[in-house]
Symmetry: C2
Subunit: 485 residues, 2 copies
DNA sequence: ATGTCGGCGCCCCGCCGACAA
DNA sequence: TTGTCGGCGGGGCGCCGACAT
């Protein structure tokens, strides 16, 4: 198994040749991430994550273009979320379609400690190397057999090696490798009236080889060795495998739930696949991201927030929205789940995916104006929190713990209670509770928390020692209540 | 849902447009069966079948090119076989690869009666319409862009409409439809020196459209309306979906077992997919086929048998073999399962698939010579059974019941006991037990059998009325023991 | 009987600048 | 700045019979 070590010292397992067969190539992580899109943030191997079976099931439903309707057995011991150690993350690309996906090995753990939270938070900072790239949606001319590919001027100047403009016309041979390490060669020429950058010879082979059509996107990046890499993103989000021909949609959903339930009961490892472009929402969330979102924010009806969306050109853009409801997405199967339990409205059209439900860790709360939120419980004169603004890292971490130790805002218990008890009639009047009880992270005496049924995962098995961490057995903290409370 | 009724009055559900999407075409059953191969025998909707989760799991493993190795939770209440009603059979073809597969809806039932057995036996006789067809493996010349398709002389004369030989050269336009009802047109010409049948114009579009390579096969059939249909069979049995990118192999296996266990516990319907060309063995067996094989034959070490194999040209051929062992394929997970529990050796090379393990219903026992089988328990002077020989139907059915009522040979209980108790040291000496007890089918007083744990499926739930059958509630018979005895 | 190849006609792939949006 | 098109040259697709097996 090949490991790459990034700047932070965290390891990212990229490919397991023994499992994929004779394939010897290693997926380039930068290229994989660029293909996955600007919003995808893979958790780092060795850190703690929160796994949502409901979201996992949702991704399969999206891949199959089918609802989760059929009768699926209840797994009463299966939580709506599971605290896990992420043992490995391997990057893959479908050899037929070039669709990127990740394979993650998770192992449920009953609780986490301070260091795990710190490590998770640290890992979130170093995940995305900001590689130089460009991404263009293919036009009808680009994909027709009549001609080549028209390269946007800025893109060519930023990514491609500089041309020798003493030549007439200036031209060079470009060699780029895709996710499977296949080489593609193109003739890059600067000609025409007015002058423009074009890819000619070799381009049609690429289009037909990848079966690209107008609307699909192609992207080029330069890695740290100045090597040219290229990837594709298909436009039509229609699932190719309408019916799986191997397993019924029902069996797939059952398989996911049963595998998770079995792993939870035995604290044993299990494997999931994450397809970034199949479904809009991630279902394996870094612990720190989850923790900060759930413990660090007040969620209330009428609350204003911002959220990131992907633009056509693979950029990001924030849209403003308002929380219009807090309710279970599936009150029958997943009661009191935090998975997409916020109903939202948007100030403007958010493009293709009009999401009406999001999870709390997907949004950035905006400090409410005084007439809506007269006593902001998060107001700190000395260190105001600006969600979404990059801070000095040490200050940020300090802030994270500071928040937990001194001013946790709503505890999770309060928040969950609020969810259950609040009447959702008035969308303007905020109906959160003011912070009353002590901070969660000060509860170092774990037993009483355990009695209160506040642990992640299964209660009947004792916590196995995490093989990846040799931490002193400090006090464990369990700030999250069970959804089945 | 479109239903077609064949000669016997049995219905075969062919396609469910609402589930596949906007696709309105109905899969032609004859074409589907021809593509599936001569050995495939689909059970008929409305009849009883025996479902083997182990075989189902095996097919998924073959599709994924992966062993069933990972830790899979035990389902102690899941039998190695389940008696089911087959509610529906819908035929499908992968839109990308044209691979044929069938979707079956099964519902566990605890027992069956005499009429169910008769209906199952009847349904086996009417399944295969012997359509006229030809099948040719494509040569390098057939698939190259240099030329067209060379049609074997006999094939063209048998399947294609006759040419007008007054023309110079004789030629016509052929229109054939594939499994998706897509029309393909070819120029059929009789020319060259020596004269031969060729498909020219249109052929290369077909080859590139289906992505055929040398070694793949193409087949043409004429349906009852004299319409030309065509299908393909790919040569390389390498699974296209090496890694599923949606579900881990482990979750798939768990999904199969959990779905079957849930259905068995609740006597509720569940759905399976059967890929005829992914794995060599069927895992949904008509009840009568299973019953005749298990109750109608003696199985012993050293026993001689014949078995059908598919030839290169989509024909059938029998190979002779010897039973060299009787043992569990998976003694840990599937103890005392009848799934491929016979180890066999072959007299000659059986071609590509050298199967070393088969199930008893896959073979045709050959009456052993006297020096090996001194007291053949099946010897009936008045009506000797000739396995594999087509009999008069009424006589055959009579024989089936006759056998059950008067001379069942080994009862299943005896046979299972034999499996467990026999020492397998001597491969020549037959070590079966001689028939001792009375016939199973005479045990009409079901309760005592139920006490002996001889029922299919779950015991705790009562048998739900089969909605497809309005049979008089005759006495039920339960000849099969549980594998977990 | 049929797989492969040389010959060769012509279609269309693909490179070019001219426009226009 | 860049999407589309007419022009047009040449490579290869594809039809033919000649062989060989």
């Amino acid at each position: 198994m090949k490991m790459t070590t990034n700047a932070s010292g965290c390891t990212l397992t990229t490919e397991n040749p023994s499992e994929v067969g004779e394939k010897k190539s290693v997926i380039n992580p930068e290229l994989w991430l660029t293909c996955a899109g600007p919003l995808v943030n893979l958790p780092v191997a060795g850190t703690h994550v929160v796994y949502f079976p409901q979201g996992h099931s949702e991704q399969v439903a999206a891949s199959m273009k089918k609802d989760v309707d059929a009768q699926i057995p209840n797994y009463p011991n299966l939580q709506s979320k599971m605290l896990c150690i992420l043992h490995s993350v391997t990057l893959h690309a479908d050899p037929e379609t070039d669709d990127v996906y990740a394979q993650m090995t998770l192992q449920p753990v009953p609780s986490f400690d301070k260091e795990a939270l710190l490590r998770s938070d640290l890992s979130m900072k170093v995940n995305k190397p900001q590689t130089q790239f460009f991404c263009k949606a293919l036009t009808a001319s680009d994909t027709s057999t009549h001609g080549g590919f028209s390269v946007p001027r800025r893109a060519a100047e930023k990514i491609f090696p500089p041309l020798d403009f003493s030549m007439q016309p200036p031209a060079q041979e470009l060699i780029a490798r895709d996710l499977h390490d296949t080489q593609w060669t193109f003739r890059h020429i600067y000609r025409g009236q007015p002058k423009r950058h074009l890819l000619t010879t070799g381009w049609s082979l690429f289009v037909s080889g990848k079966r690209l059509v107008a609307g699909d996107s192609v992207l080029f990046i330069r890695d740290e060795n100045q090597q040219l890499l290229l990837g594709i993103r298909r436009a039509n989000r229609q699932p190719t495998n309408l019916s799986s021909s191997v397993l019924s949609s029902n069996s797939m959903h059952i398989g996911i739930l049963a595998a998770a339930a079995h792993a939870a009961a035995n604290n044993s490892p299990f494997t999931v696949f994450y397809n970034p472009r199949a479904s809009p929402s991630e279902f394996v969330i870094p612990l720190a991201k989850y923790y900060k979102a759930v413990c660090g924010s007040q969620i209330s009806l009428g609350m204003r927030f911002r959220m990131m969306f992907e633009t056509e050109e693979s950029g990001t853009r924030r849209y403003m929205g308002t929380i219009t409801g807090i309710s279970d997405l599936d009150p029958v199967r997943w009661k009191n789940s935090q998975w997409r339990n916020l109903q939202v409205g948007w100030d403007e059209c958010t493009g293709r995916d009009r999401r009406t439900r999001v999870s709390v860790w997907e949004i950035e709360p905006v400090t409410a104006p005084f007439f809506i939120c007269p006593t902001p419980p998060f107001y700190r004169p000395k260190r105001p929190r600006q969600p979404g603004m990059p801070d000095d890292e040490s200050a940020y971490l300090d802030n994270l713990l500071d928040m937990s130790n001194k001013d946790p805002g709503l505890s999770l218990v309060q928040w969950m209670n609020m969810q259950q008890n609040s009447s959702l009639a008035n969308p303007i009047q905020p109906n959160y509770l003011s912070p009353l009880s002590g901070p969660v992270l000060q509860n170092y005496g774990a037993p009483q928390i355990s009695q209160n049924n506040l642990q992640f995962g299964s209660q009947r098995s004792t916590m196995p020692l995490d093989p990846l961490q040799k931490l002193p057995q400090a006090a464990t903290m369990s700030p999250s209540p069970l959804a089945s409370l």
